[in-house]
């Protein structure tokens, strides 16, 4: 099949009009444009309600950790970033549950999948909408109980319509 070549005029062949038109488009963009850049940190992108950010450990009404050190989150974690050492005794005689002596999440290993949140039977570990973690050393990014509870205090009132509260069902 013969390919028909379109004849272009001499002026078109020089490409000068095409170049000038292109330069006109470029200079138009130079003088008025709406920038698509989000100027972080003054402007932050609004994240979705179900966004999986850094973890937090919830406290109950009396200020004690809800976590009972059952290690279901550590088992479910695909990246194996949660380390738990449970206690031998409960907080006191009124509370029959045990609690974690050491609860460490290595945020650098974490893949923020949310399996730990899904696995937890006590609604203890949840993923918040905080995404901008930064630190100067690797050790600072291993979050222990203090840091995780600190994040709880920061995001106590942040509602998440996708969260399933297992304990409140019964």
């Amino acid at each position: 099949m013969k390919r028909v070549r379109q004849e272009i005029s001499l002026l078109d062949k020089l490409y000068i009009p095409a170049i000038l038109k292109g330069m006109w488009v470029t200079i138009r963009h130079f003088f008025n444009f709406k920038s698509v850049t989000t100027e972080y940190p003054e402007i932050r992108t609004e994240v979705a309600p179900g966004y999986r950010g850094v973890h937090r450990l919830n406290l109950d009404e009396e200020g004690r950790l809800k976590c009972v050190a059952c290690e279901m989150c550590a088992t479910a974690c695909p990246a194996k970033c949660i380390k738990i050492i449970p206690s031998r005794e409960p907080y006191d005689e009124n509370n029959k549950e045990r609690y974690p002596l050491k609860f460490e999440i290595n945020e650098l290993r974490c893949i923020f999948c949310g399996f730990c949140e899904e696995a937890c039977p006590e609604d203890s570990i949840e993923l918040t909408r905080i995404y901008d973690l930064a630190a100067y050393t690797r050790e600072e990014m291993i979050y222990d109980i203090d840091k995780l509870v600190e994040i709880y205090h920061k995001t106590k009132d942040d509602p998440n319509p996708f969260r399933v509260h297992k304990k409140s069902r019964y």
Partner: protein, 353 residues
């Protein structure tokens, strides 16, 4: 007695020249640093985004941040390179671009304390030939860097670049011959002074009007000499293959990078001097004003024209796609060379009658 001897004219000349050299050198280096920032910001505006605007107000300290980052990087010399050539290759791009600026007049005479100072570092009798000769030296920087890198991809990129630069030297030179015929002198200050005239007292006799074809050819050849888009195969190859500055890091890479921008500034300054009247600001001599103000305005007009051409280089870079190598050589030899020669003929015929 001693006072008389130190005021010997030769010492005064020495001091004046030294001051001129220092001023021009630091001016160009500062301008080159800011052209890198301008390129990034203007290209960002063209692409509907902001450029770097964090380093200072509007990002004005960004070149210094880049420079500090480049100096503190590890300076790695690969094992099997030709050490001497590897080390001097970046200088071969930096050096010719800087000394080329010595013949460019950026103003008329100024008078300080009774001494007339010409605002041109070196008023050579063969200015135009000097330009052509020194700009040919820039090819060495590329080809030596490519050869010394001991890397077949660098060599390939460097050879392509040197072929491009050599083949566009010829239309560059031939287009200047048209100007030479009109001006009758090889000195660049004469070229500027001959453009300071008017037709019908209104239109300035700039060479862009007297020699439009030469301007066109020179502009395209200047793009190719500076390895800028649309002729930037040697640079693009570093995205694709290698490129002559693959093996360079830290300070050596920054010399290559800055050398390229200084070559750009030199090309812009040459275009304004040869075609747009250099420091000539039209219609302003009739307005009575103090002499120093006139000089300041003229130097300012030279600066503005050069900056406009720098902007023009950046503007075209972000508009046009890259040429293929065969298209590039085609344009250099089969289009620009005949056009430049025809221009010489036409100018000659015009001048004879």
């Amino acid at each position: 007695m001693r006072f008389e001897k130190t005021m010997d004219p030769i010492y005064i000349e020495l001091i004046i020249q030294t001051v001129k050299v220092i001023v021009v050198f630091s001016g160009i280096m500062l301008l080159a640093a800011y052209v890198t920032l301008a390129e990034r910001r203007f290209s960002a505006f063209i692409q509907d985004r902001m450029g770097p605007n964090r380093a200072g107000p509007q990002g004005l300290l960004q070149p210094f941040a880049d420079f500090i980052k480049l100096i503190i990087k590890e300076d790695y010399t690969p094992e099997k390179v030709d050490r001497f050539v590897f080390k001097i290759a970046p200088a071969m791009i930096l050096f010719p671009s800087l000394i080329l600026f010595a013949v460019i007049p950026f103003g008329d005479k100024i008078t300080l304390f009774g001494h007339t100072i010409k605002l041109q570092v070196a008023n050579l009798d063969f200015g135009i030939i000097y330009i052509l000769a020194i700009s040919s030296l820039m090819v060495y920087g590329v080809v030596l860097g490519a050869w010394a890198s001991n890397n077949k991809y660098s060599l390939f990129g460097g050879i392509r670049s040197s072929a491009q630069m050599i083949s566009y030297e010829i239309p560059l030179g031939l287009s200047i011959i048209g100007i030479l015929l009109i001006t009758g002198s090889l000195r660049l200050d004469q070229v500027v002074v001959s453009q300071a005239d008017y037709w019908f007292s209104v239109i300035p006799k700039w060479n862009v009007i007297r020699q439009p074809i030469a301007f066109f050819v020179f502009l395209i050849a200047a793009f190719a000499e500076a390895n800028r888009l649309p002729f930037d195969l040697p640079e693009a190859e570093q995205e694709l293959v290698g490129g002559y500055h693959t093996e360079y890091s830290s300070l050596r890479f920054s010399s290559y990078y800055l050398g390229e921008y200084i070559a750009l500034i030199t090309s812009s300054a040459l275009i304004t001097t040869l075609f747009f009247g250099g420091w000539h600001l039209p219609w302003i001599e009739s307005i009575p004003m103090p002499d120093w103000l006139l000089q300041v305005l003229q130097v300012g007009s030279f600066g503005m024209k050069t900056i406009f051409f720098l902007f023009f280089f950046i503007w075209v870079r972000w508009t046009l796609p890259r040429f293929k190598f065969n298209q590039l050589m085609n344009i250099g030899w089969k289009v620009l060379l005949p056009v430049a020669i025809v221009n010489i003929f036409i100018t000659g015929i015009f001048l004879a009658f």
